[in-house]
Amino acid sequence: MADSPLIISTKHLHKTYIMGDVEVHALRSVSIDIHRKEFVAIMGASGSGKSTFMNILGCLDVPNKGEYVLDGVNVGRLDKNQLARIRNEKIGFVFQGFNLLSRTTALENVELPMFYNNLTNKERTDRAMEALRIVGLADRYHHMPNQLSGGQQQRVAIARSLVNDPAIILADEPTGNLDSRTSVEVMEIFQHLNERGITIILVTHEPDIAEYTKRNVIFKDGRVKSDILVEKRRNATEHLKTLPAIGEDDAEEEAA
């Protein structure tokens, strides 16, 4: 991995929440380097600071202490608008709860990040359709989120995260709300995207999901407890072939 350039470098990140008289140390000195094209799973017990860390990586939140360099830019020195720009251009976010705009079609949801940079309407639609094609939902572009299954909604969210050609995709428990087969399907998409050169960092509780990634970082009490490379990486496409496809077929028929 050392041969690819660094994309994320954090040094001694601290994040403390103050709840009345109690101080909650969500992060205590987290230092991690992540290179381009890595595929990292962040694991750890509930409350160990994974989401806090992801939010800082995603420029949604700022640390109390420490340094965060993203793609050569020291994020700590940026103002709100510059952070928004970084979120728009360099980062794609995928959430556990999908976070799609309701009553807004899949296509428009995917188009959303492009509203905040200057593209023509046609470019925007073309790129959104292309992203939907990548996640295999081109034929559902006009569906509203409530007309899509959880797995499909998450695929729309992934399409939205990659539509601006980000350097990294951050996914906080992207399979947390999905059944096991759908989870593997989502991991298949992530593996494909990673092969195309996108750096992916995801949080998961499930060790078998982590096996689809290349590197596992385990958090404990706001610290990095271990950081290991995955030796026997699972291939989602291969694995899907061994899984029965009944559930999915039923859903497809109903939808059609």
């Binding site: 939140d61 608008n81 979120r87 976010f93 959430f95 009553r103 990040p113 905040y116 939205r160």
Partner: protein, 405 residues
């Protein structure tokens, strides 16, 4: 995000809550509608007065008994007597800038013809009264100088009196009774319609002032006089000549106030005009309070909307929306609300004006200025009251907004 896309988003979110959007707009609709209707009524009154100045003639002077700066005096009987028939003759003979002069002595009276009764007012003048007031007859003729000298019981009727006494029958030559005295009808005046104050100018009987003085009222003084200058340019000359003459005739010392007032029609009309202007402004300001209330309604709903859509704001921010983008989104939404309300308000105001002029017979004038102002005002209300909620949305912290339940 370009403006068209923001507009699209705003329209859609308003469309989702149709009833709520409509109720929010209602304040603006009523406010703008009321402002426009009130301004139209006021402008209508003004244009009616302007018309009247034209129809009265710009060279008419009114001479009242009583001083203009002694409040209340004009109504007292003592001062009513300050103008006499001799004054009239003197003005006629000695003021070179005055062309015609006539008294305009007024009394109320019950008029009877056959079974028909009508309460109206009787105006006493000379044969010149009609020329001064620029009032032609539609049938018959005026009374003559001889009638005035002889105090004969003849009269000329206004159209309203004719309509009420004769119900369409022929009236020239008929004998009517005014306060029980028989008068011969010699002519009918052309219609003049309503005055600026809304009274019916055709509800009048005009008779020789001598007859009115002696037979109907039993007085020797003149209530009021109308005079016309020889030209528009001679108005000030006529005014000062009359003043000088009356001062010397009434033996008023230099330090004393006049016991009469000379005013031009234009002065009176413009006084009335400025009164209606004040009234218009007053009405419009009262109406604009509802515009203000409408604005507060918008602010209220926008605050609710921001809270409801906190998560949406979080999502938008997480994918790169800047505070500014969020601010504009909500500001534009508020503006769409208020401008749309303004548009409907304009339609409502214009229709209300039309309805008022039909129902109340009161002319209304919707000026483009008031429509334009209503628009600008409602946009301003949108910006002003939409700004705080929009700013609140824009200031949200992305992570807090995303976590919001």
């Amino acid at each position: 995000m370009n403006i068209l896309n923001i507009l699209k988003v705003a329209m859609r979110s308003l469309n989702r809550n149709k009833l709520r959007s409509f109720l929010t707009m209602l304040g603006i609709i009523i406010g703008v509608g009321a402002v426009i209707a009130m301004m139209a009524v006021g402008r209508g009154a003004q244009s009616r007065i302007e018309e009247q100045i034209a129809s009265l003639g710009t060279n008419v002077l009114m001479i009242f008994p009583g001083s203009s700066n002694q409040a209340g005096v004009r109504g007292g009987m003592g001062s009513m007597s300050s103008l006499t028939p001799d004054d009239l003759a003197a003005i006629k003979n000695q003021c070179s800038a005055v062309q015609m002069v006539s008294p305009a002595i007024r009394t109320g009276g019950q008029v009877v013809f056959a079974d028909n009764n009508w309460a109206t007012q009787v105006m006493g003048g000379t044969e010149e009264y009609f020329a001064i007031r620029n009032w032609p007859v539609s049938s018959g003729q005026y009374f003559t100088e001889a009638d005035v000298r002889g105090a004969t019981k003849v009269c000329v009727l206004g159209q309203t009196v004719v309509d009420n006494l004769f119900k369409g029958g022929d009236c020239i030559g008929a004998i009517i009774r005014i306060k029980k005295l028989p008068f011969k009808v010699v002519g009918v005046l052309a219609m003049k319609g309503q005055s600026a104050q809304g009274s019916d100018q055709d509800d009048v009987i005009i008779a020789p002032f001598t007859t009115v003085q002696k037979k109907l009222m039993g007085v020797t003084f003149l209530g009021m006089m109308l005079a016309s200058a020889i030209s528009d340019d001679a108005m000030t000359d006529a005014q000062s000549q009359i003043s000088e003459l009356l001062r010397s005739r009434h033996k008023i010392q230099a330090w004393e106030d006049n016991d009469f007032t000379v005013r031009s029609q234009t002065e009176i009309a413009s006084a009335a005009e400025s009164t209606t202007q004040v009234l218009t402004i007053l009405l419009a300001s009262i109406a604009s309070i509802s515009l203000l209330v409408g604005g507060i309604g918008i602010m209220n709903i926008m605050l609710v909307s921001v809270t409801e859509r906190t998560r949406e704001i979080g999502i938008r921010m997480s994918i790169g929306a800047r505070g500014r983008d969020i601010l504009f989104q909500f500001l534009i939404e508020a503006m769409v609300l208020s401008l749309f309300g303004g548009l409907i308000g304009v339609i409502l105001g214009v229709s209300a004006s039309k309805l008022i002029s039909v129902l109340a017979g009161w002319p209304t004038v919707v000026s483009t200025m008031s429509v334009g102002m209503a628009f600008v005002f409602s946009a301003a209300v949108g910006i002003f009251f939409g700004f705080y909620p929009a700013r609140k949305a824009a200031m949200l912290n992305p992570i807090d907004a995303l976590r919001y339940e």
